[in-house]
Point group: C2
Chain length 253, copies 2
């Protein structure tokens, strides 16, 4: 009978200074292409390195932050996967996204100076802590960094709008197809296979995210598998016919 780790407060699982040692710095980070520092020059990168000075490790099932926590920083994922979810007063919840390495967490907190969702690690993970105040001091000097920050927020809005389209108008087949294609595309952008993937989340979490019940997700995966578009072996999914999947959601390849 383990205490549910998600029930605990979101205390740091660990914290360590980071970029004083060159090889942990933004300037050396393999995720530079998908994370904050996109498009910065040497000088700007060095300043950023000084600022992103803390890392935090989060164990599977633990929260990086929770709804209501004061907002002081946002986070760039170095290693691992998270889910974000909003929770209603009466206990209903909605997974609003799955985030992977290089993606940013916590920007929704700026609005109220408090986080408005939970971010829970789906596997042992590690994030870079980016202090908002500190970051803004830097961004006010380097306009390109400010602009990049705006782009990141704007992209988040775009992503959420597309999710509204999915939730508002797509069938179960289409939702699952869109979900798998999106995941594959992001894996590929990180140098992994665009066909093969290991899901880090349960059917229930996928269903919650897609506005479906877990049984419907399971059935839909089976159906797509029967139709030869994918192969399913538990959480190992292979895209066998991406073109057909795209066609499902109205994309001509």
């Amino acid at each position: 009978m383990n205490p549910n780790p998600q029930a605990g407060r979101s205390a740091p699982d660990s914290a360590q200074p980071a970029s004083a040692f060159g090889k942990l710095a933004c300037s050396n980070c393999k995720l530079r292409d998908v994370c904050m520092p996109v498009g910065l020059d040497e000088n700007e990168l060095n300043r950023l390195d000084q600022m992103v000075s803390v890392r935090r490790k989060i164990k599977k099932g633990h929260a990086l932050f929770r709804s209501g926590d004061p907002f002081t920083a946002f986070y760039a994922i170095r290693v691992g996967t998270f889910k974000s979810r909003v929770v209603t007063p009466d206990g209903k919840d909605q997974v609003t996204g799955f985030q992977m390495a290089g993606e940013i967490l916590g920007l929704e907190g700026i609005s109220m100076d408090r986080h408005a969702c939970d971010a829970v690690a789906l596997e042992d993970s590690e994030v870079c802590v980016i202090d908002y105040q500190h970051f803004q001091m830097l961004a006010n000097e380097f306009a390109p960094l400010q602009k990049h920050f705006h782009r990141v927020m704007s992209r988040e809005i775009l992503r959420d709008r597309n999710m509204m389209l999915l939730l508002g108008s797509m069938s179960a087949d289409q939702r699952v197809a869109a979900f798998l294609l999106n995941l594959a595309q992001r894996q590929q952008a990180r140098g992994f296979s665009g066909q093969d993937m290991m899901l880090r989340m349960t059917r229930e979490e996928i269903g919650n995210y897609l506005g479906l019940k877990l049984e419907t997700v399971s059935r839909t995966l089976t159906r797509l598998s029967d139709d030869g578009m994918i192969s399913v072996d538990q959480r190992h999914i292979r895209l066998l016919n991406a073109t057909a999947l795209k066609a499902l959601i109205g994309l001509t390849d």
Copy 2:
């Protein structure tokens, strides 16, 4: 057989310089409490006034901007109501929001330097054009303005996340109740009645927004009306029992 006004390009319906004359300036605007200038001091306000120098009138049914249009500015609604919608390659579309006076349109465009949705006027409307580059020059000097801008974007993310919750997990009754309560609350924040409202959108647009068919919206309104929670006379809706409506979506008043 009229040419559909929505089919036309989004050319300015009209444009005029604005704030050179004091009474049209941000500093005098009745929407100050709900729009951009929140929390600025005199000095900052004057600078903002100089910048928000152009207004645009948009006739009912016409687009302020369309998906694909280059992004150069965002917009604050002075008068009227808009809907935003995203459109898929295959013609499906999703209304992602209804915006009223004081609210900001177009921030989704920053990410790609192009607008990613259409903003269509639901009645004859007028907006303040806020040039993004110009605004950023000012915001880089005045940290509070930059911070406010971030809050506006963050609030947009929050709003979209709540919409995902609605679309992902609520029944038709709950969706319509949440929609009406939200509208009423925003009307009230603008000094109008929190009970009485004139909808500016069709049942179809509401349905599209809420992930329902127009018939379902109509039936749901009838049902809420039969239950005495609201009265419906075409687009005139009156909230007769807001507490019951809130209870529907799990809010204890």
